[in-house]
Amino acid sequence: MSAIGMLPLEGGAPEVAQVPSPVRGRDRVRDTPYPERPDPSPQPSPERERGPGASEAGEAGYNFAYLDEGTKRMIRRAILKAIAVPGYQVPFASREMPMPYGWGTGGVQVTAAILGRSDVLKVIDQGADDTTNAVSIRRFFARTSGVATTTRTTEATIIQTRHRIPETPLREGQTLVYQVPIPEPLRFLEPRETETRQLHALAEYGAMHVKLYEDISRHGHIATTYAYPVEVAGRYVMDPSPTPKFDNPKMDQSPALQLFGAGRERRIYAVPPYTSVRSLDFEDHPFRIQEFTDPCALCGAEGVYLDEMLLDDAGRRMFVCSDTDHCEGRRADGHVGTGDAV
């Protein structure tokens, strides 16, 4: 069965699209713990960047992408239900993974369940490909599946993320897999699962609005800055994972499929492509995202999320892109920031 395609056919005339095309050949990641292979060509295709275990499982003794087939089937069924009921948290029998709970076991299980040989995987944490946990998870998949990995948002078919959505707009055919610590948006209003389940069943979300409004009366603002609750497809209130609310608008009507995995809490949920994702707000206090006064000091980008770097003990600091791939891409294209501290 060689030709199972991800290629959608519409109206009899196949749209040739969803296969990622490498744009630039820089900064592809080599995560293999195996001996160096010959340097990739300047424009490597995903095939060439494949890990050594591409056709067989990369790591002796373990199945392709680590999980056994029975576990994958169970997770896959949960994913299908999650897609069919957008925003609803599907219980699944999360397995113990070789990384700790809290390190992304839910996202890792979702990625392992959907990953195939032709995928190109990108892993980010805090928007960056080179944070230690992103490196560790990317290596895990390179070792256990041999799939190609990349740091480039445009090249990836699957992007696993913790805390950010890439700045580069996602496109059809891409899947964004979120690592989720607490999937229940109502958890901090009601700690009991038995209660929150009923609230979702009844679509009873008044308490969430009350909580947000209490912030306004106390601070003049909604004081939730990340993991800001959203309503999906007009029905379920959903936790978008601890992304800053800056990223919430990117979820709305995204061409990409968004999957959420919470390993410790054993829940999977999803937002299909082209689905309404509305951040909860009030007529007199509309939802607003964070704004930064200065552009990225490295690439000059505005309207992106920035990390604040402390430069010395005299309070000098600098704001730079949180999305390292986006920043590097802009600099490669000749954009330059001031390089100045503020």
Binding site: M1, P8, R76, L80, Q198, A201, L257, P273
Partner: protein, 195 residues
């Protein structure tokens, strides 16, 4: 002699799943599914591939009259999936329907519960043909605006049944629509109307 299952169990199952996942994520958009299976008739290669990819001992499977009448089909599915077969559509995790025109009413399958809407049946239809760009209008999550799909054959009073199914959201059944070499999805979230 039992017909073989997937030639490459790991990657064929993954490929089939991804086609089904994309189908449900983009309702009405056709995904290629070249199953490479030759199951006993009247099971189709696409029904067989989806069953092998998604069912196992944890998922009771319901067969429609045509499939249930062929003992080789049950033997094939039992051997390759280990899934228990059930006579009761309301207990089925998956239902395989060879003849969509004579499918029991959707309401007879498990609809899930308000607390656990995921405990519903996923129906897999084997159509003779599916074409997009004509036929029924589809709208809802996963659809950029509106899309169209034509099913041959079309189950009786399909639009009315789907409207009822949609009205019960988040309860309801999800449909996986297979045709030779193709698969499409109609999750419960999709609104289906006559064009």
């Amino acid at each position: 002699m039992l017909a073989p299952g997937f030639a490459d169990p790991v990657h064929d199952a993954q490929g089939t799943f991804r086609a089904v996942m994309d189908a449900l994520a983009r309702p009405g958009l056709l995904q290629r599914l070249d199953a490479g299976l030759e199951p006993p008739t009247p099971l189709t290669p696409e029904l067989a591939a989806i069953a092998l990819a998604l069912t196992d001992a944890d998922t009771p499977v319901w067969l429609d009259a045509g499939l249930a009448a062929a003992p080789e089909v049950a033997a094939y599915l039992r051997f390759h999936t280990g899934a228990p077969l059930t006579d009761d559509p309301a207990r089925a995790a998956f239902a395989l329907i060879r003849d969509p025109a004579r499918c029991p009413p959707l309401a007879r399958f498990a609809q899930g519960t308000p607390a656990y809407p995921d405990t519903s049946t996923t129906l897999v239809f084997a159509h003779d043909a599916i074409t997009s760009g004509e036929g029924l209008n589809l709208a809802g999550p996963g659809i950029n605006g509106m899309t169209r799909i034509a099913l041959t054959p079309l189950p009786d009073s399909f639009v009315a049944q789907r409207a009822e199914n949609r009205a019960g959201f988040p309860l309801g059944v999800d449909l996986i629509l297979a045709a030779p070499g193709l698969v499409a999805g109609l999750p419960r979230s999709t609104a289906v109307t006559e064009s």
